[in-house]
């Protein structure tokens, strides 16, 4: 489907290289308590205040699976059009680190809870399908803080045991732009489902990025490097760009690429080796004997399926059909669940005689501009959907002009005021009384006799002058359409 000119290729002399990317996304499960304990998961709490005996791995403490997290993982699997495994197994991934109290992470290795699935990306040149390899549940580790003290490392276990979903894609991505679209799509789906808040600043969504390159047209994969724990889309894109070029350079120099784990240095904008394959940890995975295999019934899955809300792809389809929106407009509205919610509420509140196109233009225009300038999410919009709908209706039914509406909108922001009231209080109602307007126009023509003659002699540009004068005289409130009609008639 992709057009030649939009392909992302790395060029060297006569050679062109394709970049192959696979992502392991770590998405924090939206849950009030941890995967195997009842501790809270609030972000930004005082260090070590959300830690149970289980999270700190005290002797004799045992994990007990949090059913809600299991449901969240299955829902996410459904949202990724994936196979839900009725039987999955928790394994221990063993390694030593100060912020890993158990000395192992409970994860799912051989038998994940969710199997193969797919997501659809809307790229400028068409749709692209990205395969999902698997989704599994695992515990997060704590946090080591190295910069509080020159001698000591401090450990905060608040995150220890928090539920993560690791979503592994197939190596289907081919450019930084596709990675951007993929992450945004995953985030969007999970936010629709309420299974992950997708907040990258708070670390709710991070990714390990696998990058390899190969000569264009080659079917075989090159040796890949894994860039660990990248926590913003921008950094992912920068890391891929750097890493792909680094690998191409090595090939061009006749060198080989070592399979290794690398880190992205956000300050220097480069990746550097963390450990080679030879130094790779031997995690000694084995089934956690403290936990029985996780078994879910068909009924359990069906009930969750019934609980799945309309997801972005379906919503988009519906918006196009029901509201006659363009694919582009629909995309903008559905990509974030709160935008979609806002839009649908506006549509509902506009009532019968509604102008959806106008509402879309105003949401993507005026509203987005205000939110942007104030750094707000649409869920924090200073103008409620209800008042926004009233404003659109005021324009639609000719009570105010589009120009006046902008003034009204600015007044609405402060305290979510009712636009109807603003129009009444400020006397901003459009003048649509033909008699009054005729009188007003007669006076203008009278005052500008010479210009009226010039117009009649063919200086048509002067029409605009008369419109301007009329609007000025009415304080901007005159119905522009009526002014046009009357002027044409009278001049």
């Amino acid at each position: 489907m992709s057009k030649k000119d939009s392909e992302y290729l790395i060029n060297r002399k006569d050679n062109q290289y394709e970049v192959v990317i696979g992502l392991e996304v770590h998405a924090q499960v939206l849950s009030e308590s941890k995967l195997f304990s009842t501790s809270a998961t609030k972000f930004g709490a005082e260090p070590n205040t959300q830690v149970s005996l289980v999270d700190a791995a005290f002797p004799g403490m045992l994990p007990v699976i949090n059913e809600f997290c299991v449901k969240q993982a299955i829902k996410t699997g459904i949202g990724l059009n994936a196979k839900i495994n009725k039987r999955s197994v928790f394994d221990r991934k063993n390694y030593f680190y100060a912020d890993l109290p158990q000395g192992y992470q409970i994860s799912q290795f051989k038998d994940p809870i969710v199997g193969e699935g797919k997501v659809i990306l809307d790229m400028p040149n068409g749709q692209k399908e990205v395969g999902i390899e698997r989704l599994h549940l695992e515990q997060d580790a704590g946090k080591s803080i190295h910069d509080l003290d020159p001698q000591n490392t401090f450990v905060d276990l608040n995150r220890s045991g928090v539920a993560l979903m690791e979503i592994v894609s197939k190596p289907d991505l081919r450019s930084p732009d596709e990675v951007n679209a993929y992450i945004k799509k995953l985030r969007s789906i999970m936010r629709y489902l309420g299974t992950c808040d997708g907040n990258m600043q708070e670390g709710s969504l991070r990714a390990d990025v696998n990058v390899s390159v190969r000569p264009k047209g080659s079917k075989e994969f090159g040796t890949r490097c894994e860039i660990k724990n990248v926590n913003s889309i921008k950094f992912m894109q920068m890391a891929i760009e750097y890493e792909a070029n680094r690998q191409v350079d090595l090939i061009e120099e006749g060198k080989t690429i070592d399979q290794e784990t690398r880190l992205f240095d956000t300050k220097k904008n480069e990746t550097r080796s963390m450990r080679s394959k030879e130094d790779a940890h031997d995690y000694r995975y084995f089934p956690d004997p403290d936990l029985l295999p996780l078994e879910v019934s068909e009924k359990f899955i069906e009930e969750l399926k019934n609980d799945i809300p309309e997801l972005p792809d379906d919503k988009k389809k519906r918006f196009i059909e029901e509201f006659k929106l363009s694919s582009y407009e629909a995309n903008i509205l559905v990509s974030d669940i709160d935008t979609a919610k806002y839009f649908e509420e506006v549509v509902a509140k506009m009532g019968k005689n509604k102008d959806i196109k106008l509402a879309v233009n105003w949401i993507t225009g005026e509203l987005f501009a205000i939110l942007n300038s104030k750094g707000l999410e649409i869920s924090q919009s200073p103008v409620s959907a209800k008042n926004f709908a009233i404003l659109i209706n005021l324009i639609k039914n000719g009570t105010i002009s589009g120009k006046i509406a902008k003034t009204v909108f600015e007044l609405m922001i402060d305290g979510d005021k009712d636009p109807q009231k603003i129009v009444e209080e400020k006397g901003l109602k459009q003048q649509s009384d033909p008699k009054a307007l005729e009188a007003l126009i007669d006076k203008i023509i009278n005052d500008n006799r010479e210009k009226a003659i010039e117009y009649k002699q063919g200086k048509e540009k002067l029409f605009g002058f008369f419109v301007g004068q009329a609007m000025k005289a009415s304080g901007g409130k005159a119905n522009p359409q009526l002014i046009n009609e009357i002027l044409k008639k009278k001049l």
Binding site: F58, P59, M61, V64, P101
Partner: protein, 485 residues
Amino acid sequence: MSDIIKQSLTELVENIKNKKLSSTDVTKAFIDRSEKSVELNAYITNDFTSALEKAKKFDQKPNLDLKLPGIPMAVKDLFCTKDIKTTAGSKILNNFVPTYESTVTENIWNEGAILLGKLNCDEFAMGSSNETSFFGNVQSPIDKNLVPGGSSGGSASAVAGQLTPVTIGTDTGGSIRQPASFTGIVGLKPTYGSCSRYGIVAFASSLDQAGPMAQNVKDCALLHEVISSYDPKDSTSIDFKRNHYSKELTNNIKGKKIGIPKEYRVDGMPKEIEDLWQKGIQYIKDCGAETIDISLPNTSYALPTYYIVAPAEASSNLARYDGVKYGFRAKGENLIDMYEKTRSEGFGAEVQRRIMIGTYVLSSGYYDAYYLKAQKVRKLIKNDFDEAYKKVDAILTPSTPSSAFKIGEKTNDPVSMYLNDIFTVPVNLAGLPGISIPAGHDTKGYPLGLQIIGKAFDEQNILNIAYAMEEKINFKNKITDWWIK
């Protein structure tokens, strides 16, 4: 007061309920005996002062409806006890005081029992002689310089030596039954999932079970009834209908079919063990039950399987003892250095050996050949039992291939030490209940035990068989009080 310590748990409960004895009388008697018995080294930590206070408090307002009203009891130091040091017999937990209580001990205190103290055991329950404890070996009340068995060696010594009326131990490969056999007492390893593992320092999670150790079968049944409970805090705990084991205890086992597995007749087994087994078969018949020769063909693979599965799980379970959060920490140049020094100094040789075995068998490249294969064999061993139980109600075997050995006799020969668990280990691998009852003496006068293995969740049945046999055997433990000056 000397006769108090000679009473069984059942008698003590009876006497307290009849107000013939007070909790204070009983508690004082066992504290007194314990204080005279320091040479046994059965205790790691005692809580005598507060035990007496609790006893007095109990007597002021006695609740006689409880199953263990005001009964003093010492427990293995593998059970976490709130505000009382819990060491697992290890230097690495030498300073560890839990803020929580294990479910099993909680059940005991809820029925009115009073903690006397924490009993010595092999380090992290790894051992068959109680010689791996950081707190020194335990002496057997049977004879000086004789091991009490392990890992619940302190528990066995304390019950046989009458330092506590009953106790609880843990059994991963025989750690209740083997020391019970060595010291002439009764020890039950319940079905996996019968007793909660919450709050028990873990050795091998898929094998560990807590269980009662007592002077007789009835006491054992009563204590089992108290400790066995479904616990949502342990994901492997099983919610099945539990009996009133002591109330439902009967010596009527007429018509029961008892299997005699030929594979337990191992090479080099002393004649006195074979003789004991034959005697056991006769007792079974005397009780009106029937014995049937059966085969458990994979028995010989049980020990190697166990010594892969148990160390594998242990190597992971013991990773948390790293000097970071609690317990012993050695000074190090950096994190890795601190880990290495902490674990080298904090763990004893046997624990280190098992961590290394476990780490090895789980390593990539060896996992399939060892751990995975062991899991498959484990399944075969379980299948053997399932097959056998189509024909029989229970299985009778010796508890151990020999009587107790001398302290130091096997310390330099780990394999010979491991062989001690040859009859007990298959039961853990299959998750079944097994009980060891004293059944006779060897030529040196040391106790020998017989083991009755039951179907899963069929503790009542093996307790009944043990109860019936106990009556016929009429075993008398020869305790000379050699350690009392």
